[in-house]
Amino acid sequence: MVKLRINGVEQSFDGDPDTPLLWFVRDELGLNGTKYGCGVGLCGACTVHLDGVAVRGCLTTVAEAAGKSVTTIEGLSPDGSHRVQIAWRELNVPQCGFCQSGQIMQAAAMLEANPNPTDQEILEGMQGNVCRCGCYQRIVSAVRHASTGA
């Protein structure tokens, strides 16, 4: 039995402890904002926060999260008003939207650790998150906007 906190709520899981967090939050908890895009850490669609740090939900097992605190996109802000979410809307970032929870979670964790990233730090910080629709120009602008208001 693994115990962990998801979005502030105590959860326990008695299934296979090697189950990736991605499938635990989706299949067991119905938290569908975390997306599957590759399953092997190559796209970032599954990005969640583990004790505040961005991790790939497809590579992090439930066992590795035992006793820790996981935040998914649903828990980032109760009403969707995290500054990164606001920036994403103000700059009309999404196209299909599928990659965007992962992008937002990545950006939020990055800004938490480094509130004023340089452009180069933004590009590098976001390079693990693929957007097949090609929203990168706006993603980079939105991270900057969330960081500096510019």
Partner: protein, 777 residues
């Protein structure tokens, strides 16, 4: 009251993850304020004869166009307007833009509009096949008709209520007013009486003057799913669940047309959570969207299904395509394109002109099979129970899926319901509903709801691949170096092979994408298609055959300009020649060119507009200026999906050969634009998509099987190296210049603009795609 349509249209609430409807509570402040301010302005409407309804390709699509307001609009007593989105949303914004056009024309307040997504039912909604950059092109006019009809009905209802002359009342800003009597009634109050009226005939409709548009053309209305997307609430294919649902993954034959020889599922069945293992029958090439077959593992959760699949021991019979090999096939295509093929265009006497030319300039361009790789891999949920089948999925063609599922299961169309979720990207992959058929078939076998999830590996290995092609062009020059003859041979397996026994011949649609309609003003032109047999499922991919055609035509143009010591842009304009409307008979075609299904009278191929975008992109990019060493500017133009796009790409070439794209200027002439903000986002996205295609796009087959499997070897452009600033320059037009395609046409010109820029930066001339490491050699 309301609204039989509310009941019948609105899909029953999704079993989980939301209601399937979007309440737009949080309209863009800018958009709302602009609209509210606009309400003070008197509405100008014009009689029907000021708006000339035009013929467009939507009318000849299967099941045509429906513009009955009763089908698309419902108004609740509280004034909430519900508009049906009948096209699938995959990132272009059409789920927002078409209802926005209806709302504007009917004078509804966008802040009080709700969107519901239609189920697949073309008899009711008309064509729903979201493909071919057609959504606004085919639906902007019907959307105005719908909106104008609702406005008319509301005015009639108010006039009846007040016993007034309908000419004295006016619908404006979500209410109808009688100016001289000082009466007003809200849309909610009038809804029941208004919507009970019959649809007015078109000649009774009056349309808003374009100057009175509140939302159309402004770019201030945000996509309706924006808040849900940024909070993780938006519902995609894998986000719908039913009680008792099993999670399935399928091991498919590595080679298309392969079948299961034997399977040992004992270890798989021991994986905790695995419930059952089922076979899906294999299908040969040419089986349309029938599943490839294979072995499915059904489990209590995705993780168990994946582990179960890993534990399967399957022996495959690889079937007739086991010898397919990319390296060998490239040689085959080159040999095919080197010999005469079947003429599809014969203008003047190209053979004689080539034979008599002072010199002939020949180049050959090659592109590999590619994979759409939408961010959301294929996925669908089905529930077959009590003689009915209900499906949820990210489907570009929900009605097509409904028919194909009914056919595969041996059910009647009426017993199959297909709900459309948001699509996490489509790019043509999700026009093919094999994944939904798999779910339906497995649900029928299992007697429970089943959701089939494709992994990324599945997606890359079992695609409906973009064609691979050799495009060989010969240009005959006279003694003064004037081009007098053009011969283009195209060898590319056709998507026809996915639908019928393969004859190695391209479909008229593929021929129509830059082969038959090459616009240069050269007196003698011949286009031929050369035989190419398919060995994988070939399917359309964003921009389809326009990609290799634009690459070939725009590359050889720049190469010949260099050869002749000419400026590439000037030479391109010279090749396009005089501003004129292309005439199929003068072009030596046997029938009118395909023209993306649009009637030529309404949507002529206008070389003046083609020239216009070249000049615009060149001017914006500062064509002709001196660039630092290691930088290059490239330009290319192509008309596709009836839109004219020129792209100027600036490249920097690192000392190690790394290609970077700091800036792109895209000039787009796509007629009237409903939502310029979404056009800009499509231009930006298309450049990224095209850069991926150019740099990395290409799968390799060995022994019949795709060798790539995930984003490590099927690479994507990422934020560490992408077209950093894409400027979209939209040529402004009034409504009378018909709206044309946006989702696809910016992809094709990017590739040759990029490779021209690389050459101009001092890099290698790229003739074979993908570029990969060629600039590093």
């Amino acid at each position: 009251m309301l609204h039989h349509i509310e009941k019948t249209l609105s899909p029953r609430p999704l079993p989980s993850g939301g209601t399937g409807r979007t309440v737009i509570e949080n309209v863009s402040r800018r958009g709302f304020l602009a609209g509210a301010a606009g309400f003070a302005v008197a509405l100008q409407v014009f009689p029907a004869d000021a708006y000339v309804a035009y013929k467009h390709g939507g009318l000849t699509m299967p099941n045509g166009v429906v513009d009955d307001p009763h089908v698309f609009v419902a108004i609740a007593p509280d004034g909430t307007v519900t508009i049906v989105a009948h096209r699938s949303e995959m990132g272009t914004g059409s789920r927002t833009s078409i209802p926005m056009v209806i709302a504007d024309e009917m004078e509804a307040d966008w802040g009080r509009v709700k969107i519901v997504q239609a189920v697949g039912d073309e008899k009711k909604y008309g064509n729903q096949d979201t493909d071919g950059s057609r959504s606004l092109r085919h639906h902007i006019q019907p959307a105005r008709d719908i909106g104008a009809a609702v406005r008319h009905m509301l005015e009639q209802a108010a006039a009846a209520k007040w016993n007034a002359d309908p000419d004295d009342v006016e619908a404006i800003g979500h209410e109808v007013v009688h100016k001289s009597l000082g009466l007003r009634a809200g849309y909610g109050e009038l809804a029941e009486a208004a919507m009970a009226l019959p649809t007015p005939p078109r000649d009774r409709l009056r349309y808003k003057d374009e100057k009175a548009f509140r939302y159309i053309g402004k770019g201030a209305v945000q996509i309706v799913d924006l808040h849900d997307i940024t909070t993780g609430k938006a519902v995609y294919g894998a986000d719908v669940a039913l009680p008792g649902m099993l999670f399935a993954v399928v091991a498919r034959p590595p080679v298309v047309g392969g079948t299961v020889k034997s399977v040992d599922a004992s270890a798989a069945l021991k994986v905790p959570g695995v419930v059952r293992v089922e076979q899906i029958p294999g299908t040969p090439l040419g089986s349309k969207f029938k599943p490839l077959g294979g072995v499915a593992v059904l489990a209590r959760n995705t993780w168990a299904a994946l582990k179960g699949r890993d534990a399967l021991k399957i022996a495959w019979d690889d079937g007739p395509h086991a010898g397919f090999d990319t390296v060998a096939y490239e040689k085959e295509l080159r040999a095919s394109a080197a010999a005469p093929g079947n003429p599809v265009r014969d203008q003047g006497d190209p053979e004689k002109a080539l034979a008599g030319a002072a010199r002939v300039f020949v180049r050959e361009y090659y592109q590999k099979h590619m994979v759409h790789a939408p961010m959301e891999p294929p996925v669908a949920l089905a529930n077959v129970a009590d003689g009915k089948c209900e499906v949820w999925g990210p489907l570009q063609s929900p009605y097509g899926a409904r028919l194909d599922i009914a056919d595969y299961l041996g059910m009647k169309e009426e017993d199959v319901t297909v709900h459309v979720t948001l699509l996490g990207g489509g790019f043509g992959r999700k026009s093919k509903c094999d994944f939904a058929i798999e779910a339906a078939y497995l649900s029928k076998l299992a007697g429970t709801p089943v959701r089939v999830q494709w992994t990324r590996d599945d997606d890359i290995r079992h695609s409906y691949h973009h064609t691979t092609s050799v495009e060989r062009i010969e240009i005959g020059l006279d003694k003064d170096n004037r081009p007098v003859a053009w011969r283009h041979r195209s060898a590319a397996p056709s998507f026809l092979s996915t639908f019928a026994p393969d004859e190695g011949v391209q479909h008229p649609i593929e021929v129509g994408m830059g082969l038959e309609d090459m616009p240069y003003e050269i007196p003698n032109v011949r286009a031929e298609q050369c035989k190419a047999m398919a060995h994988t499922r070939v399917g359309w991919f964003r921009s389809v055959s326009n990609i290799p055609r634009a690459f070939a035509v725009q590359s050889i143009t720049a190469e010949l300009a260099d050869e002749l010591g000419r400026d590439q842009k000037d030479f391109l304009l010279e090749m396009i020649g005089s501003p004129r409307k292309l005439d199929w008979q003068a072009m030596g075609l046997a029938q009118p060119m395909w023209n993306n299904g649009e009637p030529a009278e309404e949507f002529p191929f206008d070389t003046g507009r083609l020239r216009g975008v070249v000049e615009l992109a060149a001017a914006k990019a500062g064509w002709g200026r001196q660039l630092p060493k290691g930088e290059g500017l490239g330009i290319a133009v192509h008309r596709s999906f009836v839109s004219y796009i020129a792209t100027a790409v600036r490249v920097t070439l690192g000392a190690d050969g790394t290609v970077r794209v700091p800036e792109v200027h895209v000039a787009i002439d796509c007629g009237f634009v409903a939502n310029p903000e979404r056009v800009r986002s499509q231009m930006q996205g298309a450049c990224v998509f095209a850069m991926t295609a150019a740099m990395h796009g290409g799968v390799n087959f060995e022994n019949g099987a795709v060798q790539e499997s995930n984003f490590h070897d099927y690479r994507m452009v990422r934020s560490d190296n992408f077209p950093e600033v894409v400027h979209a320059h939209i040529v402004p037009h009034p409504f009378a210049v018909h709206a044309t395609g946006v989702g696809e046409p910016a992809v094709p010109p990017f590739l040759p603009a990029l490779t021209n820029a690389i050459a101009n930066a001092g890099g290698k001339r790229i003739r074979d795609l993908p570029i990969g490491d060629q600039t590093k050699a």
